[in-house]
C-alpha cells in the first residue's frame, strides 16, 4: 500500500439529490409543521404549503371500478408513494379507497392515530367511511353505502381544490377552517366562495387535520387552560406563539398542559422551565428539576441539564 492515502474524501451529493432532499423536507415540514415560538408573519409562500396542508385523515369504504387497476396496499408506518401514469389507478390503503387520476402522485403516511395523504400533483378521489359504523350491502355489482364520504382533491402547483361528493370534509387553510358538505367545493384561489350545498343528510364524520396555525393578522390571545377536550398540540402551539408577547401567561399555560402524561406534557414542562430560566424566574430550577425527574431521558433532558447548570452558576 502507498505510504499516504489521506482521509477518505466526502462524496458530494448531486444538485438533483439536493433538490429532492429539499422538496421532500418541505413536504414533511408542511405535514407536521414546526411548533412556532413566535407569531407567524405573513408570507406569500404559505401558498406553497397549502396543497400539502390539505392532508386528510382517511377511513374507508372500498368501491371497485371496472376500468381501473386495483392494488392492495398494506397498512404501513413508512411513507408510501403512489404515482399514476397515463391511466387512473385505484388502490386501498388501510381503510381508505383511493382513485388516483392520470399523471398524479400521492404519498401516504400513517401513525397509530392518523392516516395522512399528501397529494404531490394531479387529482385523487378518496372514499372513506366511519370505522365504527362500517355497513356495506353488496347486491351483484351494486354496492350500497350507509355512512361515509367521498371527495376529490386536486393540486396544480400551489393551488388546491377540494370537491365533496358525499359526507363532510374539513379543510384548513392559512389558519382558517372550511367545512364542506356534499355538493360543495373549495379552492385556494377563491377561499370564500363555496357553492351552496344540498341539505346534509349524513351524520358528521370526524376528520383529523393538521394543527391550526393562527393567521398573522389575528392578535395573540391568552390561551384557555387546556382541558381533556382540547388538542394538546394546538394548545402547545398557541402557547408557543404567546411566549413573545406574554411569557408569564405562556408559563402558566405550559404548567397546566404539563399536568398531562403525553409528549406534549413533556414539551410543555421543558418550555415552562426554559422561559422561566430566560426570565430569571424563581420557579425555573424547580420546573427543570421536575422535568428531569419525570422525563430523565426526555427529548430535552440534555438541554434541561444544561440550563440547570447555568442556573447553578448564577449568583
Amino acid at each position: 500500500m502507498n505510504p499516504k492515502l489521506g482521509p477518505p474524501a466526502v462524496e458530494p451529493l448531486s444538485d438533483v439529490t439536493w433538490a429532492r432532499i429539499e422538496r421532500d423536507l418541505w413536504s414533511r415540514l408542511d405535514t407536521a409543521p414546526v411548533p412556532s415560538p413566535a407569531p407567524r408573519s405573513w408570507r406569500p409562500w404559505i401558498v406553497g404549503g397549502l396543497a400539502t396542508a390539505v392532508a386528510i385523515v382517511l377511513v374507508i369504504l372500498a368501491r371497485s371500478r371496472g376500468d381501473t387497476e386495483t392494488v392492495q396496499v398494506a397498512q404501513e408506518t413508512v411513507p408510501t408513494r403512489m404515482v399514476s401514469g397515463a391511466g387512473p389507478s385505484a388502490l386501498t390503503y388501510g381503510d381508505a379507497h383511493i382513485t388516483l387520476e392520470p399523471e398524479s402522485a400521492l404519498v401516504m403516511t400513517q401513525d397509530p392515530i392518523t392516516t395522512t395523504a399528501i397529494l404531490e400533483r394531479g387529482s385523487a378521489w378518496f372514499s372513506i367511511t366511519h370505522r365504527k359504523q362500517p355497513f356495506v350491502v353488496m347486491a351483484g355489482d351494486a354496492m350500497v353505502r350507509v355512512v361515509g364520504t367521498r371527495f376529490r382533491v386536486t393540486r396544480m402547483a400551489d393551488h388546491a381544490r377540494v370537491e365533496v361528493e358525499r359526507g363532510i370534509v374539513e379543510v384548513r387553510f392559512r389558519g382558517t377552517e372550511y367545512r364542506l358538505v356534499a355538493g360543495q367545493h373549495w379552492s385556494s384561489g377563491e377561499t370564500t366562495a363555496v357553492i351552496e350545498p344540498p341539505p346534509v343528510i349524513e351524520p358528521p364524520l370526524v376528520i383529523k387535520l393538521p394543527p391550526v396555525i393562527d393567521p398573522p393578522t389575528k392578535p395573540a390571545t391568552k390561551p384557555l387552560p387546556p382541558t381533556p377536550l382540547q388538542d394538546p398540540r394546538a394548545t402547545f402551539e398557541r402557547l408557543s406563539a404567546l411566549e413573545a408577547t406574554d411569557p408569564s401567561a405562556a408559563i402558566a399555560g405550559y404548567v397546566t398542559l404539563a399536568n398531562g402524561s403525553d409528549r406534549w406534557a413533556e414539551l410543555a414542562l421543558y418550555a415552562a422551565g426554559r422561559i422561566a430560566t430566560d426570565r430569571r424566574d424563581a420557579r425555573a430550577r424547580s420546573l427543570l428539576d421536575t422535568y428531569l425527574r419525570r422525563f430523565p431521558r426526555g427529548a430535552n433532558a440534555d438541554d434541561a441539564r444544561e440550563l440547570l447548570g447555568h442556573l447553578k452558576g448564577l449568583p
Partner: protein, 198 residues
C-alpha cells in the same frame, strides 16, 4: 465583534425559520447543508441512506430551532444534530452479521487509479471496523481522527467533555488496532491517522 454580529445573524435566521418562514428555512438549509452532510458522511462513511438521513437531520434541526439560543454557532449546532441523527441511525441499525469480505479490488496499472482503488478499499475496511465499535467511540474517532477536528470542537459537537472525547478516541484506537492486527490494509491505513489529537 465579528463573532457577535454572526451570532445575532444566526439567532435572527433561526427565529425566522422557527417561526415557519419558508425563505428563512431555505436560507438555513442552503447555508448548512454541506456542514450537515459532511458530519453525517464522516461518521457513517459512504452510505446509501445518506440522502434520507440528511433529510431527517434537517427535519430535526427545524423542529428544534426554537431551542437554539446562540450559545454556539448555528453551524456547530447543526453539526450536533447531525451527529445525533447519525448516532440514532447506528443505534437502530442491525450490526452486520459477517465481516465484509476482505478481498481487495483488482489493482489498476496506472498510479492514480491504483491510489483511488486503494483508498476506497482502505476506507471500506475502516468503516467496517468502525461498525463494530461502540457508537460514542466511533463518533469521537470519526470526527477527531478522520475529520481532523480538535478535541474541544468534538466535545462541543457531541455535548461531552474534552476528557471524555479523548478517552473515547483512545478506546476506539485500541479496538481498531485489535482488528487491524488481522488486516494489513487496515493496519497500514490506520497508521496514517496516528498522532496526538489536538
Amino acid at each position: 465583534m465579528e463573532a457577535a454580529v454572526a451570532r445575532e445573524a444566526d439567532l435572527a435566521l433561526a427565529r425566522r425559520a422557527a417561526a415557519g418562514e419558508r425563505d428563512a428555512q431555505r436560507t438555513l438549509f442552503v447555508a448548512q447543508r454541506a456542514t450537515v452532510h459532511h458530519a453525517l458522511y464522516r461518521i457513517l462513511g459512504s452510505n446509501h441512506e445518506l440522502e434520507d438521513l440528511t433529510q431527517d437531520a434537517f427535519l430535526a434541526i427545524f423542529r428544534a430551532l426554537g431551542s437554539f439560543r446562540g450559545d454556539s454557532s448555528l453551524a456547530r449546532w447543526c453539526q450536533t444534530i447531525a451527529m445525533r441523527t447519525a448516532f440514532a441511525y447506528i443505534e437502530r441499525r442491525k450490526p452486520p452479521s459477517i465481516d465484509l469480505a476482505l478481498v481487495e479490488d483488482e489493482l489498476a496499472s496506472d498510479e492514480d487509479t491504483r491510489r483511488v482503488v486503494q483508498l476506497r478499499e482502505a476506507t471500506r475496511r475502516l468503516y467496517a471496523a468502525l461498525d463494530r465499535i461502540e457508537i460514542k467511540q466511533r463518533v469521537a474517532f470519526a470526527l477527531t481522527v478522520i475529520d481532523g477536528r480538535s478535541l474541544a470542537e468534538v466535545a462541543q459537537i457531541t455535548e461531552s467533555s474534552v476528557i471524555a472525547v479523548k478517552t473515547r478516541v483512545w478506546r476506539a484506537r485500541k479496538q481498531l488496532a485489535r482488528r487491524a492486527a488481522k488486516d494489513d490494509v487496515l493496519a497500514s491505513y490506520l497508521a496514517e491517522f496516528e498522532g496526538g489529537e489536538r
